[in-house]
């Protein structure tokens, strides 16, 4: 029986025994005819047994033409409490197919307990071997077979059909008992799978040939959105002892609701806080703000991943006592305590926007983060409890405008998180510029930032010295590269959550150009474009990702050098285009010129079809909002 849903297949059928397609040994390779590195063969076979356990086989054969691509052939396998390496061998062949080396598991470097940089501990062991050879080309062939435990049923490996080097042939084979249900979602063009349906088991095989290399670009959206791949998801599974029905978002949310609720215990200390808050009879939004204030100031982000990436949150009381946890721990603590104050607070699962975007019509556990939404009638307040520097309602940009699965026992659903507006992400710069003739000019600047700019700077500055802080401001495009810091007028401060201020002075190497009788003063020390906006759009293939809308609000006083007066001042002008706009005005005084300028961009992503219009928009901004000032030399 097969049901076809939109873009998905729900499969159930009869059986056969899966044997992962296997190309033994090395032969003289067709790819020797080419001079570029390729993945000659990438085969994944996943065979699910009747008891839910699985055998997962992977065979890759990579032709490495030169050293530049050797990292693509790095051997990397892993093991954790659910996935056990049963068989592994890897071979290195020369161009003629002669075996140069072979490795078994014990020959690989082993790292256990390490995860990504933000993880304190992860109960996974990685084994790897970087290929080092004197001459190229070589072929690296790796075969690994994992035994997957029967309680690891929530996830199926995806078919990644595009890599950093071309893929000649990729095959993905899935074998299941007939009563096993899963869904499929393809990204890119794939032929329908070959299927073999027998009495008790079914097998499907997807294949792809000659997939081109994927070449990423700076400031692009997550590459996963553009790579050819096929996702698989079981429609029901057991996770951390909880049963999940993943056939719809609503049922998936309901399963999580049960799991999260099991962790909503509260200690007496938490109850005391809750009772204090309740006794004040605050409106819900104020109550949320007060509790966030209390919790964010005493909590730290620490990820300890045990089990299925630690899918099950730690009890709320434990997180509260330790004052640390990861996203799901902290969100659970928030949700438990807010629920205690009668605020309708629910955890929400998201895939952060820097990593991808879940497909709205494809229910799957494709999330990497947990945040929180508080509902008050028609109003919602979103909180990311890992953003200790954020105001309630002020999500970090990676959480903005992405799908969130709101956890609820009955009415959970996939909703879109809000996007901040340009005027919420504000950089206010009050600058004094002292141009000089024949040497670097000086300047002083008072900076205040709010929103994404504010809390990111707030979070990023502690532990840095003043020069390092200055470097951070440059990396954000808040001051230009060619300025130097000579002193701090007001150390970095954070008057409130999502707010950051810093005042300093320094030198600007590019401030003025003297020509006979004139001095051109450059205001570019206070840039109006973020680094992403200055990206070369010629021949760009992917959208430009600007992260979040923003506004620069500048007041600038130019102190005239001795012997100079203001020339013809640029006109006061305003400009509004398709992507944003701004305005600028000047006024001359006895010894100074003052400028007031606003520039905003209300998009966070520019699609390729918009590049031409966006370039024109930037040119207009540059022409209107970033003029040179002309000072005339007194005769």
């Amino acid at each position: 029986m097969r049901e076809l849903l939109s873009r998905t297949i729900v499969a159930a059928a009869t059986a056969s025994i899966l044997a992962c397609s296997h190309v033994a040994g090395a032969t003289l390779l067709d790819s020797l005819l080419v001079d570029e590195s390729v993945v000659e063969y990438d085969s994944t076979g996943y065979e699910i047994a009747a008891d839910g356990s699985a055998t997962w086989r992977r065979l890759t054969r990579i032709f490495v033409a030169d050293e530049d691509d050797v990292d693509e052939a790095t051997i990397a396998i892993f093991e954790d409490q659910y996935v056990e390496i049963k068989e592994f061998h890897a071979h290195l062949y020369d161009a003629e197919g002669k075996e140069l080396h072979k490795w078994k598991q014990g020959d690989l470097s082993r790292q256990c307990g390490f995860g990504e940089s933000f993880i304190l501990y992860s109960d996974i062991c990685h084994y790897f071997k970087r290929i080092e050879v004197k001459s190229y080309p070589v072929v690296v062939e790796t075969e690994v077979a994992y035994k997957v435990a029967k309680d690891f049923t929530a996830f199926l490996p995806d078919f990644h059909a595009q890599r950093e080097i071309p893929l000649v042939r990729g095959v993905y084979t899935l074998s299941t008992p007939n009563d096993y249900r899963f869904t499929v979602l393809s990204h890119g063009e794939f032929s329908p799978p070959d299927s073999l349906i027998a009495e008790k088991r079914s097998m499907w095989k997807w294949s792809v040939e000659n997939a081109p290399a994927f070449e990423s670009e700076p400031f692009m959206p997550p590459p996963s959105l553009f790579k050819n791949s096929i996702e698989f998801a079981p429609t029901s599974f057991e996770l951390e002892r909880f049963e999940f029905d993943a056939s719809t978002w609503r049922t998936l949310a309901a399963g999580h609701a049960e799991m999260f609720a099991s962790c909503y215990d509260l200690s007496s200390s938490q109850l005391a806080i809750i009772n204090t808050l309740k006794s004040r009879n605050l409106p819900p939004q104020q109550l949320v703000a007060d509790l966030h204030d209390t919790l964010s100031s005493r909590s730290r982000y620490i990820a300890v991943e045990i089990g299925l990436s630690g899918w099950l949150p730690r009890p709320a009381s434990e997180t509260f006592a330790k004052q640390y946890g990861d996203c799901k721990d902290l969100s659970t603590m928030y949700a438990a305590m807010l629920t205690g104050t009668n605020v309708d607070a629910r955890p929400a699962l998201i895939l952060t926007r820097d990593q991808g975007m879940v497909a709205a019509d494809y229910p799957k556990l494709g999330f990497n983060h947990v945040i929180l939404t508080c509902i008050d009638g028609n109003d919602t307040t979103w909180i990311d409890p890992t953003c200790f520097d954020c105001l309630p309602g002020d999500l970090p940009w990676v959480d903005e405008d992405t799908y969130a699965l709101v956890v609820d026992p009955v009415n959970g659903d996939l909703v879109r998180t809000p996007l901040s507006t340009a005027d919420q992400n504000l950089a206010v710069r009050n600058t004094h510029i002292y141009p000089t003739v024949g040497s670097a000019g000086e300047f002083s600047l008072e900076l205040t930032c709010t929103g994404n700019l504010g809390h990111r700077l707030r979070a990023g500055m502690p532990g840095l010295d003043k020069e390092e802080m200055f470097g951070v401001l440059k990396s954000y495009g808040l001051i230009e590269d060619d300025v130097t810091l000579t002193g701090v007028d007001q150390p970095p401060a954070s008057p409130g959550l999502s707010e950051f201020s810093f005042a300093f002075h320094g030198g600007d190497r590019q401030q003025s150009v003297a020509i006979p009788g004139k001095l051109y003063v450059d205001l570019s020390l206070i840039p109006i474009f973020s680094p992403a906006e200055t990206t070369d759009l010629r021949e760009r293939r992917y959208p430009l990702h600007l992260a979040y809308p923003r506004t620069y609000l500048d007041t600038c006083t130019i102190h005239l050098p001795s012997g100079y007066v203001a020339g013809d001042l640029p006109e006061s002008r305003s400009y509004v285009g398709a992507f944003g706009g701004g305005d600028i005005s000047f006024a001359a005084h006895d010894s100074t010129i003052s400028m007031v300028r606003t520039r905003f961009i209300d998009h966070y992503q520019i699609d390729t079809s918009e590049f031409e219009a966006f370039s024109q928009f930037l040119d207009s901004c540059r022409t209107i909002l970033d003029p040179k000032l002309v000072l005339r030399k007194l005769q």
Binding site: C112, Q323, P516
Partner: protein
């Protein structure tokens, strides 16, 4: 009797975390005492509660209030092991800047056992203590290493985090070294040692202030014996910092190391290395373990020289050097061991090996070819400076090949394809080392031949009336700078690499690469690159002037961003940078503003820029000469200021007026 225990602890590898033993003046300790940490776990004092950081460090997130290490070395009988006890208490001032205090990693080598690990957070007022539970202490592993990792709970500004543990091991030969300095400001760091009867250890003190060199001696009764206890205490140690062109941190940080020199009981007297010859003998055994096929090496040398066209002995030696340098790929050394030597068998089979492994192979191939060749141990420039008075292997982390040809000695290193015969890579230009020659091992002073090191760029810029430009440039990179520019020379020359390497990240400069030609490393120790760049938006038009930056290839970044410096500046080598730029403009333009003349001549650095011309053409010649490789902390402000002027000069702009305009008047 466990003498074998002592002997077997001479390691096959040289793990970094445990072999950082040091040298300096020697103090023989032959007494016994019991090292004792007198600070009670969890007892925060009033003074600690009131403690604040010195004003200069006020922005640090945390401080080490104290850390104590103490070692007791029992007699090596039965199951006796060395006990190393550690106790540290930190005060947290700002949670988000206190990672080094609140996230802990404890490294354990193979054979080390940890016990009595206790950790807790103490509230700011000292009344509340929250223990780190066993479930929250996690074990990581990196091959043979184990790492215990944990974080403190309930951390808030003002609180204290404290932990202690004991490690037991059998590494009698070299005790765990003691480093007084941390990444955090350290109010007090102390180390005590007690050595039971029969042992003699060298105490090696490095960079310990003179007034603290001699330990405090107490007398205590341990197990009925009256024992002196030696304790070193340092106070108010500043946090270590990363800085560009930093020399080896160990040359400036206080450390204590202990090396066993003798063990005696009523049956045995065992002596351990005390002079360079004995250290060399021992090390020769270690190196020998990596040479496992002399017959194959002889065959390889013979095979290599079969291709040699003939010539003098020196030509033959040069040929062998190039053979190993160019026919065996250099792999990275492990971060975890001082010496990571690929065995000669693996090297010959796989043609890939670590730098020390390749150099050891070269020694053997030279010998097979009839040359007198020996391994030479050095410490690389980021490891530590060689001191002949400190008889300790901890000074070394690298093997060179020393070869004698026609009565001349040459120091060779095969790791860098941009090192011609007898030129060592900058990191290997040590002042001295240890020649490994069995009982004849001896220290040697290394002299390094002058190596012309420079980068020059001769650029011709043609600016047309639209403000676009074409730039033809001939770049020559010589000497040690070849390694610095490896990213460009070894990879693909494209817009990105040119921008990153030659244009010093001139982010806003838009250009297309029209042509690039790289000429391979030549016998004159240089590489040349010819480039043609199209710069469609080279000039910015303001009124009737075209504004441009003529010095595309001049240095434009000051590497010294910080106003203060903790360590001296070690460039590793002297170098110079020359840039000549010839600009011509189209008929519709006239150059009206030229870069200013600049002359700087401070101790060790010269910078000159001269500009000529005007009208239809101009020439700018820029010359930076760094005439010494080492600048003390006291010289840093001048050095920084000079480099700032160099950067400013590189960014200076010129103006060309559109002919016929009157706006300039």
């Amino acid at each position: 009797m466990r003498c074998s225990t002592i002997a077997k602890n001479w390691p096959k590898h040289w793990p970094k975390h445990w072999m950082r033993f040091w040298f300096a003046c020697f103090l023989a300790l032959t007494v016994s005492a019991f090292a004792e940490d007198k600070r009670e776990f969890g007892e925060v004092t009033e003074a600690e509660m009131a403690y604040t950081l010195p004003e200069y460090y006020a922005e640090e997130g945390a401080a080490v209030l104290f850390e104590t290490g103490s070692v007791e070395i029992p007699q090596p009988y039965g199951s006796n092991k060395i006990h190393f006890k550690f106790h540290r208490r930190c005060k947290v001032f700002n949670v988000s800047g206190a990672d080094d205090a609140i996230n802990v990693k404890i490294y354990l080598a193979d054979g080390e056992k940890i016990r009595d690990l206790k950790a807790q957070t103490i509230s700011a007022d000292g009344t509340r203590k929250i223990e780190v539970k066993g479930d929250d202490i996690h074990e990581q592993s990196l091959d043979d290493y184990k790492i215990l990792t944990f974080t403190f709970p309930a951390v808030e500004a003002g609180c204290f985090v404290e932990y202690k543990y004991e490690i037991r091991h059998e590494r009698f030969l070299n005790l765990t070294p003691w480093y007084f300095q941390n990444d955090l400001y350290t109010k007090e760091s102390s180390f005590s040692v007690i050595i039971h009867n029969g042992f003699e250890y060298f105490v090696v003190r490095r960079n310990v202030p003179l007034e603290n060199e001699e330990p405090i001696v107490d007398t205590e009764y341990i197990w009925g014996e009256k024992c002196p206890k030696y304790t070193w205490v340092l106070h108010d140690l500043r946090p270590t910092k990363r800085e560009p062109f930093r020399p080896a941190v160990r040359d400036y940080s206080p450390e204590l190391n202990f090396q066993l020199t003798k063990f005696a009981d009523r049956y045995n007297v065992l002596k351990f290395d005390r002079d360079w010859a004995k250290i060399g003998e021992t090390f020769e055994d270690y190196l020998e373990r990596n040479i496992d096929n002399r017959g194959d090496i002889e065959d390889a040398a013979e095979e290599a020289l079969a291709q040699f066209a003939g010539g003098s002995s020196l030509d033959s030696a040069k040929y062998l050097y190039r053979f190993v340098r160019d026919n065996f790929k250099t792999s990275e050394e492990s971060d975890y061991y001082y010496f990571d030597i690929t065995g000669t068998k693996d090297l010959l089979e796989e043609r890939v090996g670590t730098p020390s492994g390749k150099n050891l192979l070269l020694v053997e191939m030279m010998k097979a070819a009839g040359f007198s060749a020996l391994p030479l141990l050095i410490g690389t420039r980021d490891h530590c400076m060689f001191s002949p008075n400190i008889i300790h292997t901890g000074q070394f982390n690298h093997v060179l090949c020393l070869v004698s040809v026609e009565d001349q000695y040459y120091f060779l290193d095969t790791q860098d394809k941009y090192a011609a015969f007898a030129f060592l890579p900058p990191e290997c230009m040590a002042a001295g080392g240890l020649i490994i020659d069995g009982e004849n091992s001896q220290i040697a002073q290394l002299t390094h031949p002058d190596r012309k090191t420079s980068i020059s760029a001769n650029a011709r810029l043609r600016i047309d009336d639209s403000g676009a430009a074409v730039c033809s440039t001939h770049v020559t990179v010589c000497g040690h700078l070849l390694s610095t520019y490896r990213e460009l020379l070894d990879g693909e020359i494209d817009e990105e690499s040119i921008r990153d390497v030659l244009l010093e990240n001139a982010e806003n400069l838009k250009f297309d690469l029209n042509m690039a030609t790289l000429n391979d490393y030549s016998v004159d120790d240089s590489v040349t690159i010819d480039l043609v760049l199209d710069l469609p938006q080279f000039c910015e038009r303001i009124e009737d002037n075209a504004i441009f930056e003529p010095l595309l290839f001049a240095p434009r970044e000051n590497p010294f961003k910080k106003s203060e410096r903790m360590y001296p500046v070690d460039f590793r080598f002297k170098f110079s940078s020359y840039t000549t730029t010839d600009v011509t403009v189209g008929d519709g333009l006239k150059i009206v503003t030229l870069p200013e003349q600049v002359r700087e001549n401070v101790n060790g650095i010269q910078f000159n820029r001269s500009t000529f011309g005007g009208g239809s053409s101009m020439r700018t010649v820029s010359q930076l000469i760094v005439g010494k490789e080492f600048f003390g902390v006291g010289e840093y402000p001048t050095l920084r200021e000079t480099f700032e002027k160099v950067a400013q000069a590189g960014l200076e702009r010129s103006a060309a007026e559109y002919v016929g305009s009157t706006s300039a008047e």
